[in-house]
Amino acid sequence: MAAVQETVDRVRSIDVDAYKYGFVSPIESDLAPKGLSEDTVRFISEKKGEPEWLLEWRLEAFRRWRTMEEPTWARVTYPPIDYQAIYYFAAPKSGPAPKSLDEIDPELLRTYAKLGIPLIEQEILAGVERPRVAVDAVFDSVSIATTFKAELAKAGVIFCSFSEAVRNHPELVRRYLGTVVPATDNFYATLNSAVFSDGSFVYVPPGVRCPMELSTYFRINERNTGQFERTLIIADKGAYVSYLEGCTAPKRDENQLHAAVVELITLDDAEIKYSTVQNWYPGDSQGRGGIYNFVTKRGDCRGARSKISWTQVETGSAITWKYPSCILRGEASRGEFYSIAISNGHQQVDSGTKMIHLGRNTTSRIISKGVAAGKSQNTYRGQVSAHRLATGTRNFTNCDSLLIGHECGAHTVPYIEAKNSSAVIEHEATTSKVSEEQMFYCLQRGLSAEEATALIVNGFVRDVLQQLPMEFAVEAQKLISISLEGSVG
């Protein structure tokens, strides 16, 4: 019966959400005023019914943020962002929502069709204003999610929205929140700490191997939480969890600025595998619009022999500023970073990782594959550092860039810092072009230029694709082909 009640509550809450989308007159009191002040922060915290300590934590972050400057070291350019012109809670749409799929950019629909997404889901992704469809679809996912939750509960795994975690597991949230990415960490993370909307929370108890891959797809409450998302995942001693974030379908979103924070914590012998497929709107063919993705992702291998592995496939966003990192604190802990970053059109990617070796005999591995096409700029920026006491540190880095055409750029910026003489740090990097010879060879066998490019690029990124969970890998492969369309004459 609990499930039924939950379903009813969920649907009710969806109806309330739906008001915000404007098909019934909006309830003004649910909107924070435009702009950012202490009042906005208080408003958000109060609306979410948060405890005093969390409000204080947000306010401290906000005060800190006001003294900070937006970073400019990344190889990306964009017009200045007016942070006072943004809604930080329940942002209303900038224009009326589309009434049907007929009003959606046909390019987007073509992509959905290629990915084989059912019509109803297409409508939801495209933000079509049809409450009945949305509610029906949510009914579906509520029932799936409920079965799913029952399975997890049996294993003792906590998987819920961040807000739920604050309500139901405040001691866990308080113990771990901000311990990997402090509220003072960097401009965007600090902004997120002040105004974060919602996100995911996972706790896997000692010795438990999470019985299934956790996916944001199953997390309800998803709408309108994307802008300042906050994720916290804890794998207790000997626990294991694999978490999938994102979706191969490009999601329509009114918010241009995204500043998420993800914190991962592994205790002794625990392992977290975090996979992302990011395919947000990259802007139109002239480079207009598109999401700015300024995200801070960091994992802390706090326990001995623990392991954190990041795998990402980045094909979307106008600007990507993202460095999923590992702090290798526990003795013999291990960090991994596998990345495919594909840029086309006018996209700008500045992405990479940091492996901070603090504990003894810690190891890390970085495999980065950047593919630049069109007029895009694609930068790998990575840091590997070995602390004075981190004897026996080992790192292997391989970052390869592939260029398609002659108007794009690929850049590699490695920072390597070894403070003890026993550290072994290897760095390999190559930059190559899809050669005319390779293209001609494929064409001569009857492949079209686009098929040939997709084949060559998929070969180039194969080592990383193999790190993805199976079904994700298949989707990612399709996505790679689609995102490179139009990159060859």
Partner: protein, 249 residues
């Protein structure tokens, strides 16, 4: 079937082909021989449509259709197959994956459905067996780490599976030892057919001991300067290309 008329082509403004004309009939194996630099490989590339080459004048008809108006992949879909002298490596792309992609691209162009995996595997196994290509090699990335002989055998394997209208073999004998040469030649001979033509480009007579040509054309300075039967190849073997090279000076 394949008719080349007055073809002139250059690379980076350097003229290579100079008014070449040539006719290859269905069912025919035509050998193209000639000294280094006479334009043999250029002819192969221009037929296949390699972008580096600029065609100044002339026409190439396959079954009455002017190939020069088609993109390289469209030419392939019309049945032009080039066995490369130096097959390109494509890291990360399995040889099998590549074969399947090419085969299905050609089937789709003919309005046929994609091959099922078992059907595909069966065809590959049969063709691979005849060419002594082992399964391990097919699992490797395309041409990466293949020996010279393996590369050439894999070219002929692709030709066997794609079953083209006209096969252009660009110095397929180069870099082959005598055993590999026999295997490759047997592979080509097995594909000889009344509806198919071959253009066998070679520098040496020895390939023609194994693939018996119907016609031999001698090329020099971008044109065909002599045409004859198989005996012409033997004569070249004895006397070299000197006579022909001088003739067109």
């Amino acid at each position: 079937m394949l008719e080349i008329k007055n073809l002139s082509a250059s690379i980076q403004d350097k003229p290579i082909l100079d008014g070449l004309s040539l006719c290859v009939h269905a069912g025919e194996v035509a050998a193209i021989m000639g000294p280094n630099g006479s334009g043999k490989s250029t002819l192969a590339y221009v037929i296949a449509g390699k972008p580096d080459y600029e065609v100044k004048s002339g026409e190439i008809f396959l079954d009455g259709e002017n190939l020069l108006e088609l993109e390289p992949n469209e030419r392939a879909l019309k049945g032009v197959f080039l066995a490369f002298q130096y097959p390109t490596e494509i890291p990360g792309v399995g040889a099998m994956t590549f074969l399947k992609a090419a085969l299905n691209a050609q089937r789709r162009a003919r309005g046929e459905s994609d091959l099922t995996t078992p059907d595909f595997m069966r065809r590959v196994r049969e063709a691979a067996h005849a060419l002594k290509v082992d399964q391990e090699m097919l699992r490797r990335p395309l041409n990466v780490g293949f020996s010279g002989g393996e590369k050439k055998r894999f070219e002929v394997l692709q030709m066997a599976l794609l079953a083209p209208r006209v096969g252009v073999l660009d110095e397929t004998d180069s870099g082959l030892d005598i055993d590999a040469l026999r295997i490759v030649a047997a592979g080509v001979n097995a594909l000889r057919d009344a509806n198919r033509a071959f253009l066998v480009i070679t520098h040496y007579q020895r390939l023609l001991d194994h693939i018996k040509p119907d016609v031999v054309h001698v090329m020099s300075k971008g044109r065909i300067v002599a045409t004859g039967g198989p005996e012409l190849a033997l004569e070249l073997e004895r006397n070299g290309y000197r006579d022909y090279a001088e003739e067109v000076v």
